[in-house]
Amino acid sequence: MTESQGSTSVLRKPATRRAVLGGSIAAASVAVAYAALGDKLNLFGGSGSSATRADTAAINSESVRISHLLRRAGFGVTREEHDHYQSIGLQATIDELVNYDAVDDSAADTLAAQIPTESLQGLAGWWAVRMANTKRPLQEKITFFWHGLLTSQISVVKSAELMKRQNDFFRANAMADFPNVLKGITMDPAMMLYLDTSGSQRRAPNENYARELMELFSLGIGHYTEQDIREAARAFTGWQVPRARTAPNEYVFEEPVFRPNLFDNGSKTFLGKTGNFRPDDIVDIIVEQPASARFIVGKLYSAFVYPGPDEQTLQRFVDVYLKSNKSIGATVEAMLRSDDMYSPRAYRAIVRGPVEYAIAAIKALGGQASIAQTLAQGRGQTVAAMGQTLFEPPNVAGWPGGETWLNSATMFSRLNYINQVTGGAPQPRNARDVRPQPAPGANLGTAAHALDYYLPLVLDDNVPDDARQLLVDYAGGPDAPLSPDQLRSLVYLILASPQFHLA
C-alpha cells in the first residue's frame, strides 16, 4: 500500500505537467505507470480522499459505455439521440454506427445542402452542420480522422471546390481499405496542389508529397531513407491539375492530366524493390511494409480507444487489419467492439479537439443547424481561437492534438464559447436567442431537476460529490426555483466543467 499512497501524493495537485501528460514518448511510459497504479488503487479500494479516487468505475455501466462510445465514434449527442441509443443498448448502437449505409441521413443532407460552400467559411459551416446533424456519426468521425491525417490546407490549395471534393472522398471512403484510400488521396487534386505533385516533372522531381506520404501518412520516420523519397518523387512526376481562368482572379480546376513527356519513365528502386513505378505502385509497396500496418492501426487506436497503446495491444488490431485485407472499417469495428474500448484506461483518456468540443456543446443544448453553421463563421471564430479551423490545419502534420489543445488562450476560448452558446454573450449573426433548449416537457424548474437532465447527457452523471454539491449551492439549493438566468449559468457551469474537455 505504500506504493499506492506514494502515487496518490504524486497525483495530487500540484502535479507536474509531464506527469499528467501523454502524447510524447517519454510521457507515455510515465502515463502507463500511473494508469497501472490507478487501477491498483481501485482494486484495493483506494485509501485516498474522494479527490484522488479514479472516476473510471462508471465505465462499467452500459449507459456510460454508450455515451463514451458516442464521444469517440461521433460528436456527442442531442437529448433525442441520447434517448434513442440508450433505448436500443450498446450492441445495437455499435451495429447502427458501423452499418451506417442503412441509416437514412437525408435530413442532414438537406440541411447541409442549404449552405453555400464556395468559401472557406461556408465550407467549414457546411461540414459543421453535417457533424451536428448526421445520423451516421461514425462515418463523419472517420471523415474527420482522415482530414486530420491525410490533410490539406485550403490556404495553399486555394479552392473550396477541391477541398470539398477531398472531403467527399474521405466520407465516401471512410471505412474503405487503406491502400485504396492512399491511392485516392495521391490522385486527389487538392492534395496534388497542396503537396506539389501537380507540376512535378522528371527534370526536377518535387519531393514534397513523397516525403509526407511516408513520414506522415503511411509509415512514420525511420522506415525509409532520403533515397527512397527521391525515388518515390520520380514516380509521382508527370501529373498536373490544370487551371482555367474564368474571370480575373477566378479559376476552375480541371481533372488531373498525365503528361508522359514530364514523367520520369526510368527504373526506380524504392524500399528495396525495383521497377518503372507509378504512383499506385509506390502505395502498393508502402502498404506491404509491416511499419505501415502498425502506423495506421496505431493512429486509429489512438483516435478511437486511447493514445499510445503498447505493442501487444497494437498487434491484436494489426492482425485484424491484415486479415481483413487492410480494411479500415473492419479494424475500427473491432476496436469499437473490444474490451479495450470500455476499459478504465480508455475512459476520459482523450482531450476533445475544438470542433468536437463545440459540436458536443451545441448538440447537448439542442443542436440547431444555424449554430453549427455559424460556429465556423464571423464572430464564431471562436473555434479557430480554440486552435482549429476546418480545412486549415496548421501544417501537413495536421493538428497535434492531445495536451497541445490546452493552454491559457485556448482554455479561455473554450470557456467563452460555452458562455456564448449558453446565452451569456451575444451570439453570432443568424444564431441569436440561443439558450439551453431542453426537450419539450422537460422539467428544469429547480437545480435538482436541471442536474438530472444535463449531468447524464453530457458528463455521464459522473462528477465528484463536491462538484455536484457546488452546482447545487450555486443554484441556491436543490429545490429552489431557477430563474432563466440561473438556469443559463448552471448549464454554463456544467458544460464548462473539466470533464467536458475530455472524451
Binding site: 496518490t8 497525483l11 495537485k13 500540484p14 507536474t16 505537467r17 509531464r18 506527469a19 499528467v20 501528460l21 501523454g22 517519454a26 500511473y34 494508469a35 490507478g38 487501477d39 479527490a51 484522488t52 479516487r53 479514479a54 472516476d55 473510471t56 506539389d196 516533372q201 527534370r203 518535387n206 516525403r211 513520414e215 478504465p344 476520459r348 483518456a349 482531450v351 481561437a385 501544417n395 502534420a397 497541445t404 490546452l406 493552454n407 491559457s408 488562450a409 485556448t410 482554455m411 479561455f412 470557456l415 451569456g424 454573450a425 451575444p426 462528477v463 465528484p464 457546488l470 452546482l471 450555486y474 438566468d485 449559468s489 454554463y492 457551469l493 464548462a496 466543467s497 473539466p498 475530455l502
Partner: protein, 417 residues
C-alpha cells in the same frame, strides 16, 4: 495588481515547482536563489521570432558577388538593383531594409551558416530539433521550457513567459510549467454572462469545479486545473498592461507586429527599466516554405519580419527598455542552393540567424557557407545553433547553458560583456 496576493497564495505550489525540483539549474541559479529570489531574474528579456517553413537565407543575406550564386539561381537570383549591399561580399534583400537599418546602427548580428550535424529535412522534425535543442531526438521538452523550469520567481509572476499565437511553441514545452499562449487580448479573458449580477460567484464556482476534479486515472485533470489558474491570473496582468500602454511607433499591420506590440506592452508593464517580469516572449511568422514561385512570397515575408522587428525595437527603446531586450530569430532550415523547376527552392540545410539589441555587437558571425562545396546540393552548416542559444543563455539570460542544453557548446562573441 489586482488579486496578486490571491494568486500567490493559490498557485504558489505550482509556481514553486521549479524550486522544489531545480533539476536543470542544479548549480548556479538554484544556489543564487537561496540568497535572493531577485538574483535569479536577470532583468533581461529575450524575444524569440520563429520564421517558420525554412528561410531562404541565400536570398535574404545575399552573397551577390559569388559567381556560383547567379549560376545556381538563374530565375531566382535577386537583381543588384533590388538589394542593399553591405560590402563587396553580401547584400540585404531590399525587403529586409529595416533590418539593414538596424545593422547600420550596429545593433544587428547576422550569424551565417547555422545548423547542426546530420540535418533533418522534415519541417516537423527539424522544428523539434531546434526547439528541443536536441538533434538526437532524445528529449521532448523545449529548451526554453527547461530554462523556465530553473527560473525561480518567488514573487509568483504568471507571465515570465508568453507566446503570441493559439498554440504553445514546442520550445516552451515543459513538464513542470504551463507557459501561456495569447492570441488576442479581447479573447484572453474569462467572459462573464451578460447581466449576471454576481459574475465573481460564477467564476469562483467554475474554478472550484476544476480544483475538485482530481481523479487518479485521468492524466489531464491536473493539467486542466493548472491551465485555467494560469490563464486567469495572466489575463489580469496582461489586460492591465494593455489598458495603460502608449506605443511610440505605429506598428505595421501583421500578425507578427501585433504580437510584438503585445510583448512591448508586457515589457513596459513592470514600469521602470529592468523590472519587467517577462523573461522570454515568442512570436511567429510562417510561410517561408517557398517551394513554388518564391520571389513575391519571400519579399513579402521579409518585409513583414523586418518591419515588425524594427517597430518593436524602436518602441521598447523609446520606452526606456532598449538595454533590456534582445530579439533572436530562427528558422528550422535554409533552402537548397539550386532552384527547382517551379521557380522555388526545396528544403536545405544551413540558415542564418539574426540577433537584435543594444547588447549586440553588430556584424557578421560564423563562417559563411560555401556555395560550391555543398552536401547533396545544400549549404553546409558552419555554426551549431546551440552555440547561439548558449551565448544568449549565458550572456543575456544569466542561465547556465550547459544545463539547459545538456552539453557544452562554444559561444560566439556577438553580445557585449
Amino acid at each position: 495588481m489586482i488579486n496578486r496576493r490571491n494568486f500567490i497564495q493559490e498557485s504558489l505550489a505550482v509556481v514553486s515547482l521549479g524550486l522544489a525540483v531545480p533539476s536543470v539549474f542544479s548549480k548556479a541559479v538554484a544556489a543564487a536563489a537561496e540568497e535572493s529570489s531577485l538574483k535569479s531574474v536577470s532583468g533581461k528579456t529575450l524575444i524569440v521570432v520563429q520564421m517558420a517553413g525554412g528561410v531562404d537565407g541565400l536570398n535574404t543575406i545575399i552573397p551577390y558577388r559569388d559567381p556560383a550564386y547567379r549560376q545556381t539561381r538563374q530565375a531566382l537570383a535577386v537583381a543588384e538593383s533590388e538589394m542593399l549591399p553591405v560590402d563587396d561580399r553580401v547584400a540585404f534583400h531590399q525587403s529586409f531594409a529595416r533590418m539593414k537599418d538596424i545593422f547600420d546602427a550596429g545593433k544587428l548580428a547576422v550569424i551565417e551558416g547555422v545548423g547542426y550535424q546530420n540535418p533533418n529535412f522534415s519541417h516537423f522534425k527539424a522544428m523539434d530539433i531546434w526547439q528541443f535543442a536536441d538533434p538526437e531526438g532524445k528529449v521532448n521538452d523545449g529548451w526554453l521550457g527547461r530554462y523556465f523550469e530553473g527560473l525561480t520567481d518567488a514573487d509568483g509572476h504568471p507571465l515570465t513567459g508568453l507566446s503570441y499565437g493559439n498554440r504553445l511553441p514546442e520550445s516552451f514545452q515543459s513538464d513542470k510549467l504551463s507557459i501561456p499562449a495569447v492570441s488576442t487580448l479581447e479573447a484572453f479573458q474569462l467572459q462573464n454572462a451578460d447581466g449576471d449580477a454576481n459574475p465573481d460567484v460564477r467564476r469562483a464556482s467554475l474554478m472550484k469545479l476544476y480544483d475538485v476534479y482530481r481523479p487518479a486515472n485521468t492524466r489531464f485533470a491536473a493539467l486542466l486545473d493548472t491551465t485555467l489558474d494560469n490563464a486567469y491570473q495572466s489575463s489580469l496582468q496582461l489586460n492591465e498592461a494593455h489598458s495603460t500602454y502608449k506605443p511610440a511607433v505605429a506598428y505595421p499591420q501583421s500578425s507578427l507586429a501585433t504580437g510584438m506590440r503585445l510583448l512591448a506592452e508586457l515589457i513596459d508593464s513592470g514600469g521602470s527599466a529592468g523590472t519587467t517580469p517577462l523573461r522570454v516572449g515568442h512570436v511567429f511568422i510562417g510561410g517561408f516554405d517557398t517551394h513554388t514561385n518564391q520571389e513575391a512570397t519571400l519579399a513579402r515575408l521579409l518585409r513583414d519580419t523586418s518591419e515588425a522587428i524594427h517597430a518593436f525595437w524602436t518602441d521598447v527603446s523609446a520606452h526606456g527598455h532598449g538595454d533590456d531586450v534582445l530579439i533572436m530569430t530562427w528558422s528550422e532550415f535554409g533552402r537548397r542552393v539550386k532552384e527547382n523547376a517551379q521557380v522555388g527552392t526545396d528544403h536545405g540545410w544551413a540558415v542564418p540567424m539574426f540577433v537584435v539589441g543594444n547588447g549586440v555587437k553588430g556584424g557578421f558571425y560564423g563562417e559563411p557557407p560555401s556555395l560550391t562545396n555543398l552536401d547533396n546540393g545544400n549549404l553546409k552548416y558552419t555554426t551549431d545553433f546551440r552555440s547561439v542559444y548558449a551565448t544568449v543563455l549565458e550572456k543575456w539570460l544569466n542561465a547556465p547553458p550547459d544545463d539547459v542544453l545538456n552539453g557544452r557548446f562554444p559561444q560566439l562573441p556577438f553580445l557585449n560583456a
